[in-house]
């Protein structure tokens, strides 16, 4: 398999962990890609991400041509795309973490703080929780995965929801459309469940 997998390097803290996990999940090679040209040449793209939405979008936008290259590859050319955690949140139109910031705008919705109505409900949402598929989405299987986030994607169109979890009510766990998918949980930190998910993504021919 000589497929080219581009793992976008824009300084995200989980870059190495995602790289390790993709290799453990069966990837032959993963290109750590900081150039737009690497993305244009890729057959499959993974966007990692942890931290604040605005800071991540700013770092991604600071790579010359990267946002356009991602749009061209994932939206126009329909190359399989996976966003992880904040990498998933960036797929939305905007984020409301430390001010309002534009996202990539591929999926209609806004990234909002998780509101704690119940004082017993701890924020950030941290730990293992259910991944419950919504309908019959690609790649997502029922199971338990590791979540670590204080913001969540509020989708405009429920059809873009691929999975939910539960933290004081339903919380978006996965989103997607056509050849793109984003997961709020960390497959690179979800032991067997996470590696199996990444294996399915690597084999995905949507």
């Amino acid at each position: 398999m000589s497929e080219r997998i581009a793992l976008i390097d824009y300084g995200a803290g989980n870059l190495r962990s995602v790289h390790n996990a993709l290799m453990a999940a069966g990837a032959q090679a993963v290109d750590v890609a900081a150039n737009a040209s690497d993305v244009a040449a890729a057959d499959r793209i993974v966007l990692p991400g942890v931290g604040a939405f605005g800071a991540c979008m700013q770092a991604l936008s600071a790579l010359p041509g990267m946002v356009d290259a991602l749009h061209d590859a994932a939206v126009e050319k329909k190359r399989p795309f996976l966003g992880i955690c904040v990498g998933m949140q960036l797929m939305a139109e905007r984020g409301e973490e430390h001010g309002t910031h534009d996202g990539l705008g591929w999926i209609a919705g806004t990234v909002k703080p998780m509101a704690s109505v119940d004082p017993q409900l701890k924020i950030p949402h941290m730990g293992w929780n259910d991944v419950t598929p919504h309908g019959a989405p690609p790649l997502i299987e029922r199971g338990e995965a590791y979540f670590l986030h204080g913001y969540h994607v509020a989708l405009a169109d429920p059809a873009d929801s691929y999975a939910i979890t539960d933290h004081g009510g339903p919380v978006t766990a996965a989103i997607g459309r056509d050849t793109m998918i984003g997961v709020q949980f960390h497959p690179e930190k979800s032991q067997g469940y996470g590696l199996d998910f990444l294996s399915r993504f690597l084999a995905w021919r949507p």
């Binding site: 390790n20 430390h98 929780n129 670590l148």
Partner: protein, 258 residues
């Protein structure tokens, strides 16, 4: 169901070696933290914690290398603490593969560090680590330097301050109980857990599985940390999980056996 309560084995590391003797069998090198991490990954611990108790400047690269090697073979969440004094210290550990960074003494000396890290990397990866002793007057005082140095700082106020500055989690260790096997200081754990909106990890003093259960049911902790009861083989992660489940505490189902 809801988010699961977590079971976190903790490895104390000094000069690149696991400090407390461990009697896992079948390990080529029982003092190698990475070998230990693999055992806990295979046992499906919910997270792993490395605390570098030397954490001198010279040892930083040793710790980074351990984190790198661990992240290459373990696909579980990893909290790392010890000697983190600046956001750049934290960044190096995150890039090496750590998911959360625990800050202790430096956040007593300069609590703003917590806010600086939260702004740069997000609250979700900032753990405020609190070592406290009962003050004999019904409260608790923050201690640093492995519990040897009192600070006069009230532990509850400090915990609330770290949470408000952006710590996404608090690791609360009773220095009175640490190493005693008498159980967590439940009043300390509960007082902090009930006064902050972020998750709290109970730490210090576990000797039995009942102590783990009490940390959650009576201490109101979101996660329970233990070292020697796991390292010395008295109980397995599966034993701990079964004990919590028997007490109707939500825990992970064990899906794979390996």
């Amino acid at each position: 169901m809801t988010v699961r309560k977590r079971i976190i084995p903790c490895l104390d590391v000094a000069n690149g070696r696991v400090v407390k003797g461990v009697n896992f069998v079948d390990l080529a090198d029982a003092g190698d933290p990475v070998e230990q991490a693999r055992v806990y990954d295979a046992a499906e611990a919910d997270e792993l914690c490395f605390l570098d108790i030397t954490a001198s400047h010279e040892e930083r690269d040793t710790l980074l290398h351990i984190v790198e090697r661990t992240a290459a073979v373990c696909f579980m969440p990893l909290t790392v603490g010890g000697g983190v004094r600046t956001p750049d210290d934290a960044r190096r550990l995150l890039l090496a593969g750590a998911d959360k960074i625990a800050v202790n003494s430096a956040a007593v000396a300069r609590p703003e560090l917590i806010g600086e890290m939260a702004e740069r990397f997000g609250s979700q990866c900032v753990v405020g680590s609190i070592d406290a002793r009962a003050d004999g007057k019904g409260g608790w005082e923050i201690f640093t330097h492995g519990g040897r140095r009192g600070t006069g700082v009230d532990a509850i106020a400090h915990a609330q301050r770290l949470a408000s500055l952006g710590a996404g989690e608090l690791l609360v260790t009773s220095m009175d109980r640490d190493g005693t096997k008498d159980g967590y200081d439940l009043a300390l754990t509960r007082t902090i857990a009930d006064s902050v909106s972020v998750p709290v990890i109970a730490s210090g003093g576990v000797g039995t599985l009942d102590h783990l259960v009490a940390g959650i049911s009576e201490g109101h902790a979101d996660a329970v940390l233990a070292a020697s009861i796991f390292h010395f083989g008295a109980y397995s992660i599966a034993d701990a999980r079964a004990a919590l489940a028997a007490a109707h505490i939500p825990v992970r189902r064990r899906e794979s056996v390996g």
